[in-house]
Each structure stands twice: as C-alpha cells, then as structure tokens.
Amino acid sequence: MERLKAADLGQIVTGAFLLAGAIFLLVGCLESSNFATYTVQGVGVGMTYGSLALALVLIYQATHVINFAQGELAMLTTFIAYQFTKWGLSYWEAFSVTLAIAFVLGTVLQVTVIRPVQHRSVIATVIVTVGLFLVIDGVVNWIWGGQFQTLPLAFGFSSWDVGGVFIEKYYVGMVVVVLVSLTAVWALFRFTKLGLAMRAAALRPAAASLAGVRVDVMLAIGWGLAAVLGAVAGLMTQASPLSSLDPAFMQPVLVYAFAAAALGGLESPAGAVVGGVAIGTFLTLLVGYVPQISSDLQLPLAFAVILVVLLIKPSGLLGRRQVERV
C-alpha cells in the first residue's frame, strides 16, 4: 500500500493528463477538418519518432548508453533498402530484407565496437557511438551522396477524402506499420523465453548470468532489435512523399526521438512511444495553428520541451525517480 502512494501518484497524474490529451485530440478532429488533418499527420510522424525513441530506450535500459548513432544507423539501413529497390526488388521485398540486415548490423556493431568499451568508461562508450555516427555518415555520403535518388513510396501519395477532410494514406500506413513492429517486439519480450532472458539480462545482469543467461549475447540481440526498430523508423519517415532521400534525413528525427525519450523517461519503453506521438502531434498542431511559429521552429521547440520536462520531472513523465540510498 505504501508503494502505491508516492511514485504511482506521479504515474496516475501523468496517465490522466495523457487521457485528457487524447480526448482533446478526438474532439478536435470531429470539430475541425484542419485539426483532423494536422492530428493525422502528427500521429503519423509521431509514431516514427516513437519507433526511434524506443530503439534508444532499449539500448539505454540494457547498457545505460545513449547511442548517438541510432539515427544514422536507421538512415544507413534505409539507403540499403533503396539500393535493393534499384537492384530490382519490390518495395516490400526490400523492406523485409532490410530489417534482417538491420538486425545483423546491430548485433555486429555491439559485439565489435561497443562491447570492448562498455564496461570501462561511460564517456568512452558515448564517444564510440559518436565515432560511429561520423563513420556511417561518411560511408553513406561516399557511396550514395551527390546523386539524385528517391525511394519508391510505401503507400503512394494519395489521400482519402473523408467528409471534406483529407487523410493522407501514408500517415495511416506509418501508424499501422510502426504499431505492428512495436507489437511484435512487445510480444517477444512478454511471451517468449528469449524475451524473458533479455529482460533479465538488462535489469539484473549478475543474477541472470547466475541463472544461465548469456548476458553478452542478450545485449547483442538487444542492439539488433534496436537497429530493426530504427530501420522501421527510417523507412516510414521516407514513406512521406515530402521527404527527400538525403543522408541527413534522420538527424532531425533523432532529435525528436531524444525529446520523446526524455519526455517519456529513458527507462520507459511505453513512455518513448507515447512521448513520440505526443511530440509529433504537439508540434504539428502548434505549427498549424500559431502563425508566428513556422515549421522551422519545430526543432528548437522540441528542445524547449526536453528542457522544460527535465526541469520539472528529471526522470521523464513516465519514468521513475532514481532514489539513491546512502
């Protein structure tokens, strides 16, 4: 009973707040067609932010490292998908192959580059991910840079006319695909032995290892999964006809993902996704309705969000406060 009082009060308040927000959105959509267009867009891009944010959180939960290269890795896998379409594969064939490659890439990176430094120094690990950022960026620019290229659109560019409201098919598609992948990952963690082992390895590595779990293998698999989620984020960002397949395209998304992860709490997977959707809708609505705010302000606004949230609740909206007992 005691535990329910303090920490969970924060959770309940946040939950109520989110519920209120959801109701607000729903009512708004029914009232105004512009609102509905913005909301659909906001939820669509928000889901891609949430997917990348979840990748960040997965890695952070397991290794307490923020992977600065997560966005670039997602971008790399998107370019790999592009290359497959150039070699003749259909979009969805390329999509599937890319997810598999992303998994392998993630595990390989963890084993070769992260594992050696992980235990020695936090700052060294962070710098390694920064180095990865630079390497991946350079490699992609080297191979595909300076060329004009477009990825085939996953869902085309048309929209449904629902009683005067334009609902773009691709935003709906983004939401569906991300939801499916999130559900798959959740199911993996919740219902399979592998998932159980991975959770144990992340939360209680010493005890898990005693119970026979290969902790280092679990961490590698975690990175692989995060890379898959990142690939989904990258590919779905490109599902919007307005995106250009440019090596820098994931950099703003990484920033929004950071904002989402900070908002939801770096230790909370659900928080990351909810945070992503919240940021996506908030920014889209703000830009749509406040004339002084142009879409170029979205990035600094996302930051303002990070800073404000962290000041009020340093462990994020859905995160638990870290209490250190001396």
């Binding site: 512009n34 300076g146 060329q147 477009t150 307005l242 250009s244 440019d246 820098a248 170029d296």
Partner: protein
C-alpha cells in the same frame, strides 16, 4: 636508464619541428599562383552533400567539360586545366574554410563556378581582399553584377571587382514573373514561398519591384530555412492556401520546391504557380510528379538549351558526346532524363575557358578578370550551350554576363517544359 621529463619534452620538440618542416615542403611558389608550365589549377566549392546536393551535377559537368578541353585541345595555351572541387554542403561556414584551403594551401589561380548565394557572400570579402578571382558564381544573386565596379548599394560592403556571376540574376527573373502574373491573372492574390536567406530575399525584392503598384496583391508570404526538413514545406503551403491565394510563387532550392509542388498536388490544388528556374530542372519536376505533384501549367524560365526538347542542336549533340565520354553511368542517365544542370555546367565552363583563353598565353589573375569583364560570346562566337540567340556579354559598364530569359510552361503530357513567347531582355 630512465628518461626524465625534460628529455621526453625535448624529444617531442624535435618530432614536432620535424613534422612542421616536412609539412612546409612545396609551400611557396614563384609566379602567378596556380599557373605552371603545363597546367593551370582552379578550384570551386559545391554542395556534394547537404540540402542542396541536387545541384551536384553542375560540378561534375564543369569537370567533364574541362576534361573535354584538355583532351581535344590540350587545355588552354598548352596548359591542362586542373579543377579542384570541394564539398561545402551549401554551408557558408564550411565554404569559408574550404576557400581558405584552396587559396592558401592549393594555391589555385582562381575560384571558378562555385555554387551558392550564401556561400558566395561568406567568402567574397576574403577573396576580394586577397585579389583572387571569384568567377562565374553559380548563383543568380544580383550583387555579383552590381558590386563589381563600385559599391552601389550598402550590401556590397565596398566594391567587389574580383567577383562576377554568370546566369541571369534572380531579381530580373522575378520581375518577369511579376509581369506574367499581372498580364495573366485578372485578380491576382499572390502567395510567396521563399528561402529565408539572401538567396530568397533577392528574388522577393525583384518580385515586389516588378509588381510595382500591385505590391499589395501579395497577401501571404511564407519563408523557410535552408537545411530544415523539406516535409515542413507542407505546413507553409497549407498556410498559403488558407490565406486564399490564387497564385503561388516559389523561390526555393530543389528539395523544397519539389516538396511544395508535391503538397499542392496532394491538396488537389492548382493555383497559377511560378517556379524559379534553378529548381525547374526536368529531373526535379519528374521527381515532384512521382510524389503526387500535378505541375501542368507551372511557369518558369530558361536560358540554356534543353537536351530533351532540342536534341538536334549542335550544342546538345556536343553535350551528349562529352557526357558519354565520361563513362559515368549515373551522369549519362541523368543527362538523358533531362538534367538541365549538366547543360548549365557545360555552358558556364565554356565561358570560363573562353575567358582563360583571352587572358593570354601568360595569364595573371588580373588578366583573367579583365577577360571576364569584356566577354563577347555573340554571333559566331556564341556559347554553344545557351539558348539559341542569347548572348554572354559584359563590358566596362555592365557586369551581368547573361541578361536574357525565355518563359516556359510544364506540359503534363510530354512531361517536359515547353518554351513560349520570344526571348526577353530582362536587363538592367
């Protein structure tokens, strides 16, 4: 035996000095920088990466043209042209360091054909101070022609005699669009989308000047920042639509122009749309169509030949031959699909070679600038790649090499531009 710190320090000292001495090898050169017995070295900065990387083919085309001159004519006055290109990512601060390296380390003879208004403005002070030609900038900013002889406007920040542009300038182009709108739209309600820096502002100023007393017909303006996410353009276009405009003028770099056209299509909205010519490349229009744009009727302008609509002109046949000889499949495919920036690159490089030839058998930076300020590519000396009948001319009183335009309209059936009307003198 132990080494104490002093000795360690001394050892390091020797190593450092050694590296320093080694690195200065070949630093000082005699004579005009960049001019050697059998080669002449020029340099330029281009956006091979970044928000304007869709312009990268201009650089490849310029290099291909110089290669063609080297191969068929042995270069200029027996000197092969070496062109060092650097990637500044359309980022003015990178341009500053790149240009410093080109001038101080690579000792280039001149900076030729660099792309970008903001990059150009970031470096023109330095280049003019060090008296290095900043020639044939691949941007239409009006300052490149206005500030040559004297500081006519405060933005010149002093006269810039070492800087010269090439293409018809942006304000002149925008004035033509204003004229077109006034003569084709009965009750114009104009919305403008423009880039927030000097590039976009240059266009906007020209549009306003061209509208004259009809300035108030511009009822909505939306500016975007270069480097921002192109998907953000959707919000800008939506706001123009909500303001009730019936004419949209787009002054944007390609990625953003494509997003704007795609958004119009996505909204099933077809206002009269004017598009700045640097983003009107056929490749970009095709890309916009693949993203849902319905650009039939979009109006833009041109001043160079089109390899897709005028393939039989001698200039276009020459262009095809040069491109094929590069054996660069991506470039060849781009050319065949109508990438007009390649023709632009050839045209500009042709003027550069023309000026290098007229700079004399022992060119100096001053003689090169003199040649650039007395261009006369007319009649039998015409630039093979510019629109038939157009000239490239400068004089002691006139600093704009190209001052003519032809309007064109996008044809949704042929998926290409169709020029109309006569050659317009957009001059100053």
């Amino acid at each position: 035996m132990s080494i104490n710190r002093k000795q360690l320090g001394a050892l390091l000292c020797v190593v450092v000095v050694g590296i320093a001495v080694a690195s200065t090898a070949g630093a000082a050169r005699q004579g005009t920088p960049g001019v050697a017995d059998h080669s002449i070295t020029i340099g330029g900065t281009f956006p091979f990466s970044g928000p304007a990387s869709l312009y990268a083919t201009i650089a490849y085309a310029e290099q291909a043209y110089y290669g063609y001159i080297n191969k068929t004519q042995g270069g200029v006055h027996g000197r092969k042209i070496i062109d060092i290109t650097m990637d500044d990512g359309y980022n003015p601060s990178t341009t500053v360091t790149d240009v410093k390296k080109l001038v101080e380390k690579d000792n280039v003879f001149a900076i030729v054909g660099s792309l970008g208004t903001a990059p150009g403005l970031a470096t023109w002070g330095y280049l003019n101070k060090h008296q290095v030609p900043q020639a044939l900038l691949a941007t239409g900013d009006a300052y490149w022609g206005t500030c040559i002889y004297q500081a006519k406007i405060p933005q010149c920040n002093g006269a810039k005699p070492w800087t010269i542009g090439w293409q018809p300038d942006y304000p002149a182009e925008a004035r033509q669009y204003a004229k077109y709108i006034l003569s084709h739209q009965s009750k114009p309600k104009i919305g403008v989308l423009y880039q927030s820096d000097d590039y976009g502002k240059n266009y906007l100023a020209g549009l306003m000047a061209g509208l004259g007393s009809h300035k108030k017909d511009v009822i909505a303006e939306q500016k975007y920042t270069s480097g921002s996410d192109p998907a953000g353009i959707q919000a800008h276009i939506l706001k123009l639509k909500q303001a009730g405009v019936n004419t949209v003028v787009i002054f944007a770099t390609p990625a953003y122009a494509i997003a704007a056209l795609a958004t119009e299509g996505g909204l099933h909205w077809s206002p009269l749309t004017m598009l700045n010519n640097v983003s009107a490349n056929r490749l970009f229009m095709l890309a916009a169509e693949s993203k849902g744009a319905m650009p039939a009727g979009v109006v833009s302008s041109t001043y160079i030949e089109s390899q897709t609509t005028q393939p039989n002109l001698p200039g276009m046949q020459l262009a095809k031959a040069i491109i094929d000889s590069t054996h660069n499949n991506d470039l060849i495919t781009d050319f065949n699909n109508g990438d007009n920036n390649i023709v632009y690159g050839f045209a500009s490089a042709a003027t550069a070679v023309d000026a290098l030839k007229r700079a004399g058998a022992n060119p100096t930076r001053a003689s090169f600038m003199h040649a650039l300020r007395s261009l006369n590519e007319t009649g039998s000396n015409s630039n093979p790649f510019v629109y038939p009948g157009m000239t490239v001319k400068t004089s002691a009183t006139h600093g704009f090499p190209m001052q003519q335009l032809k309007l064109e309209k996008w044809n949704g059936n042929t998926h290409d531009w169709k020029s109309f009307g006569s050659v317009i003198n957009s001059g100053h």
